[in-house]
Subunit: 431 residues, 2 copies
């Protein structure tokens, strides 16, 4: 029996919106947002979307009108009452009232600021300018929209059964990964796949599969707030490169620049505690960051490894904790860079028992369509949305992989000098 | 939005019926039924269900109450008005009014006769006795019910995502087969998979996949009347072993027995023409059947190869046509025994251009769950439902594979003598 009301309701949508809620974003965005809202509401930033995989001609694949409709739809979103209640009332990482009433009152009135879209050759130039706490909210939905419009553009040309079999293959692939992960007894893993997901529905399917396949002890939760809320699992995340990058750009001189990555974490230390105290040390080189780090940072819960050889990063972290008189077995190492099952198994085998391990599984959980679309046209690609300037000054990121460095060449050189970066090993940037 | 009416409607079912229409049967059953109804309505037959794969303990897997509910549900079915219209008005094999008004009037009042069900060890004994035109209608739905209840019994123990991935794998497998078949330019293939299907919905999915994947030139149609009606494709089929088996059992002496397989086809020749004139020569040995066949049979459209080495059967048919002055390139060979893609490709390669080829693809289209269920518990198995006696006399089938012979040993010997059967090569009976 056809549900006529549902059909009529569906027809009333001018588009099929990709992002339908302000909570369809990463949890760390909201944690950072609260800090930025309270401390840096007056900073002006510019965020820009960059497609590192230039062989994917986004502007040829995606209709500009469709893209604008999706972005405009996001500008119309507001936090719903239920969403606000969930943020206000929920326990995150065992802590109540993580989001203060001042912040929540502001967030309830929040709307996405303007965007600027232009076509440049076969790519789009998509930028956002304005106050930091407003602009930063664009990052995740902008990426999700571009990723999913690209998926839709490819899927549009496929038959009904081709589509069904495409998803059948993708489901089988995810499930076979989950079956392998099930064999790791003390695994702790989370979904970090919002930003470069194949589609919202697909991310949600992957999360549901992880819940059934691994259970909520091994599968700790999702970085996606909307999915975490609807599926009643933990929202996962702490902080990202955005904070030290903007902070560093704001530094008045080299001395202030050298201090910026620690200053940011001083604020974080005041704002959050427990499991939210996770160091992301690679923005300007992990090795130098840890060597010069103040001692109080060694009391933090863990370190997230997001670039470079993860084995090297984790060994560096363990050696650092030991050098500071900390027991690494009490510390958490979170791996979150380009993970897939082979790597997860290898890292688990190497570090299990030596530290607590957490995995933040991203693109190859929620977008592993490699080899599945016609001419491999659904393979994930490397799209990022970053702060490119703060109060008019360019931002810089070095990371532990020279392939991931961003910023003007002269500033990159300056940062390398200030942070004492020597030779780095290039890693292929897959996702 | 939940469709409450549909949910309430679904809840009103005491069971989830497997067979929901009298047309959920093979088309050849209805063709044979019309002939039997007109010529042999007074013959008393007994049909019996036999599980040749004794390692599948049907009575342990399937609840007797559930089985009875499904069979009882079938006894309540009647031809709907739309179904009757389809049978009366449709063109089958290019011919209108294939089913006469006398037969249709009877069929509109038809209900399934009684069944007799007893548990014997870990198997069920399921038998049907009564007038031939009534009892014969049980064959296909009885098999479909047992097959699907077995599937359901296994699936009951699986999680929601395990199930989704199970079907994802099965779909991928079917689609990969279809992709291979697509490469055969003059392929003509039909679905013959009703009787040993995994489930009704699965058969329907497979048919829809064949339509999309091959198109309706290569995919000629389905033997399943209900699916053919709903999907607006051809209903496919001609006749089966049932006719010569019952006829042979009724023969008064050895001379009449030797004539029975031809007598049956004399009637068929009077009742049907064109593409429905397909010889099924293997009931008592293909080689002897063809050698002694009257000349008018060589004018028939084709021969169906349903046991033995199919290459041998087809070569025998070609040699026979040639010996009778017929051009094999004008003749149709239909392969229908235990086909899968490897075999289809091999037969196509060998006979393409020498004869017209048709494939009736059965169990390994609609039930290829080999290796997919826990402990391979969803693999298809060899279940048959056959006429075991007619007017109190046992029936016998020899076929071209000694492993498929049925009937009391003394009668099997007598038939072998009458039909001059020498040594036969045993073939594994997979499905």
């Amino acid at each position: 029996m056809v549900d006529i009301a549902t059909r009529v309701y569906d027809h009333a949508w001018r588009i099929d919106p990709i992002v339908r809620s302000l909570l369809d974003t990463d949890f760390y965005k909201l944690l950072m947002l609260q800090t930025v809202f309270r401390r840096h509401a007056d900073v002006r930033v510019k965020f820009s979307l960059i497609n590192r995989t230039t062989s994917v001609p986004l502007a040829d694949l995606i209709d500009e009108g469709e893209l604008r409709s999706q972005l405009d739809h996001i500008r119309g979103l507001r936090l719903s009452r239920g969403e606000s209640t969930w943020l206000r009332g929920n326990t995150f990482y065992g802590k109540r009232w993580m989001f203060g009433p001042d912040f929540m009152a502001w967030l309830e009135e929040f709307r996405m600021p303007e965007y600027r879209l232009e076509r440049r050759g076969d790519q789009y130039e998509l930028t956002f300018e304005g106050s930091w706490p407003e602009v930063m909210m664009w990052e995740i939905p902008a990426l999700a929209v571009l990723m999913e419009l690209r998926s839709r553009a490819v899927l549009k040309g496929m038959g009904r059964f081709e589509l069904q079999v495409l998803y059948a293959r993708a489901m089988t692939r995810v499930w076979e990964k989950i079956e392998r992960l099930r064999a790791l007894p003390d695994l702790r893993i989370s979904d970090f796949g919002t930003r470069r997901r194949h589609s919202f529905l697909w991310q949600d399917w992957c999360v549901a599969a992880m819940i059934e396949g691994l259970g909520t002890t091994k599968f700790q939760g999702s970085s996606n707030c909307l999915i975490a809320m609807r599926r009643d699992i933990e929202a996962i995340g702490t902080n990202a490169h955005e904070l030290p990058m903007v902070f560093a750009a704001l530094a008045e001189d080299d001395a202030a620049l050298a201090e910026a990555p620690y200053k940011v974490l001083e604020h974080w230390h005041e704002d959050y505690d427990g499991n939210l105290r996770v160091i992301l040390p690679d923005t300007y080189g992990t090795e130098g960051f840890l060597r010069k780090a103040p001692d109080w940072l060694s009391s933090w819960t863990g370190i997230r490894i997001d670039s470079g050889e993860p084995e090297v990063g984790a060994e560096t972290a363990i050696a650092w904790w030991e050098s500071r008189g900390q027991d690494p077995r009490e510390k958490l190492v979170i791996f979150s860079d380009g993970l897939d099952v082979d790597r997860i198994e290898a890292l688990y085998a190497r570090f299990h028992g030596r530290v607590k391990i957490g995995f933040g599984w991203g693109t190859l959980l929620t977008n592993d369509f490699r080899g599945l679309g016609p001419d491999d046209s659904l393979a994930p690609f490397s799209l990022v949305c970053k702060a490119v300037s703060a109060n008019g000054r360019p931002t810089v990121k070095l990371s532990d992989n020279p392939g991931k460095a961003v910023g003007p060449a002269d500033q990159v050189e300056r940062y390398k000098r200030v942070f004492g970066i020597g030779a780095q090993t290039a890693q292929p940037v897959l996702v």
